[in-house]
Amino acid sequence: MALRESAKIKNLPIQLKGIVNPDIDIGIPGGTTLVKFASAIVGMDLPELTRARGILVNSLGIDALVASSVIAGNFSRNDRIADATGIPLEAEFLEQSSNFRAELGFNDFLSARNSLGAPSNP
């Protein structure tokens, strides 16, 4: 939601699908580099992380690397807390994200049940 709104303010047409599919360019400068770094920092492939770090530093600078690492750490923490305590998404954000959640596959996450309820059997 915050990604979409921050892009809208700057009149940047974005493709949110780039968040779930790294092959799609989100449309934000440096977006592909940041997606690859974010994927690598929480992934198992150390050489890939080293590559992604180098590309990030060369294209966006060392402060961007530090900031990206800070954000990746922060949200790795938040995700664990949210998933392990079963907190539901606030109603206003649930409504604001309804038009893209299904398209991006978010409704299929196990943790979606904490906000949407368990899927009914067919």
């Binding site: 968040i19 949200f75 079963g86 996450f109």
Partner: protein
């Protein structure tokens, strides 16, 4: 010596100070667990992630004392550290049925999540995990917040209306907090750390709806949200 003196990249003082406090707080007596138990939890989380190849081994990390934690607690720690996306209500219920209290569950989630936060940051920079301080010897108060209620999460939480709740006011700082900052309020010290961490690492809460604001000048808000969004997608976190 600065906590990140070995980093090839300069790290701003706000983050250095926060991470120093985070490390120290893990080793301190919690609301429900001792410093020894909390440190053992953090060590077990680290080793689980090393074993899963999500974190690189480091000489600065001591081997966990497996005997000090129950097998149920070790299972919980590993799950949160390695595979949070596979946690569901059934897992939560089984954790409690195995003898972990809801308060211990919440405090454990806080410790594991916070040490993972620190370790992923270090990993991003290509530096080793930071050494945990030695645990202190205090005794936890083990006092359940009287104002904690069912707000829709699996665990009880302290609601935003803190007019008659000094503990809640102290924790939330007088303003309403999103659910992610209230989630651990059964262990108030953990909840407070999460709020402080979010304000320093992501952005101050009063800036959340200002979509032109970035707390990290090297990245625009959109760029910052790309990193946040991608990490959360990989963790399959709906929240």
């Amino acid at each position: 010596m600065s906590l990140y003196a070995d980093s090839p990249y300069p790290i701003n003082e706000e983050i250095v100070a926060l991470h120093n406090q985070e490390l120290q707080s893990i080793a301190e007596t919690g609301t429900w667990l001792t410093g020894e138990e909390r440190t053992a939890i953090a060590q077990h989380a680290r080793f689980a992630r090393i074993k899963a190849k999500l974190q690189e081994a480091s000489e600065s990390v001591n081997a966990p004392d497996s005997d000090s934690l129950s097998s149920a607690l070790r299972h919980l720690i590993s799950k949160v550290a390695i595979a949070p996306k596979s946690i569901d209500l059934d897992f939560f219920r089984k954790s409690l049925a195995s003898g972990i209290s809801d308060e211990e569950y919440v405090e454990t989630i806080g410790i594991v999540s916070r040490v993972v936060n620190l370790d992923i940051f270090s990993r991003g920079l290509g530096i080793p995990m930071r050494t945990l301080p030695k645990p202190n010897g205090g005794k936890p108060q083990q006092s359940r917040p009287a104002s904690a209620i069912d707000e829709g999460a699996w665990v009880a939480t302290i609601p935003n209306d803190t007019r008659n709740d000094p503990l809640g006011r102290q924790m939330y700082g007088g303003g309403p907090q999103p659910f992610i900052y209230r989630a651990l309020s059964l262990a108030p010290k953990e909840a407070k750390r999460v709020i402080l961490g979010g304000n320093a690492q992501y952005l101050p809460l009063d800036k959340f709806m200002d979509f032109t604001y970035s707390h990290h000048p090297a990245l625009t808000r959109s760029q910052l949200e790309i990193v946040a969004g991608r990490v959360s997608v990989l963790n399959q976190c709906f929240y």
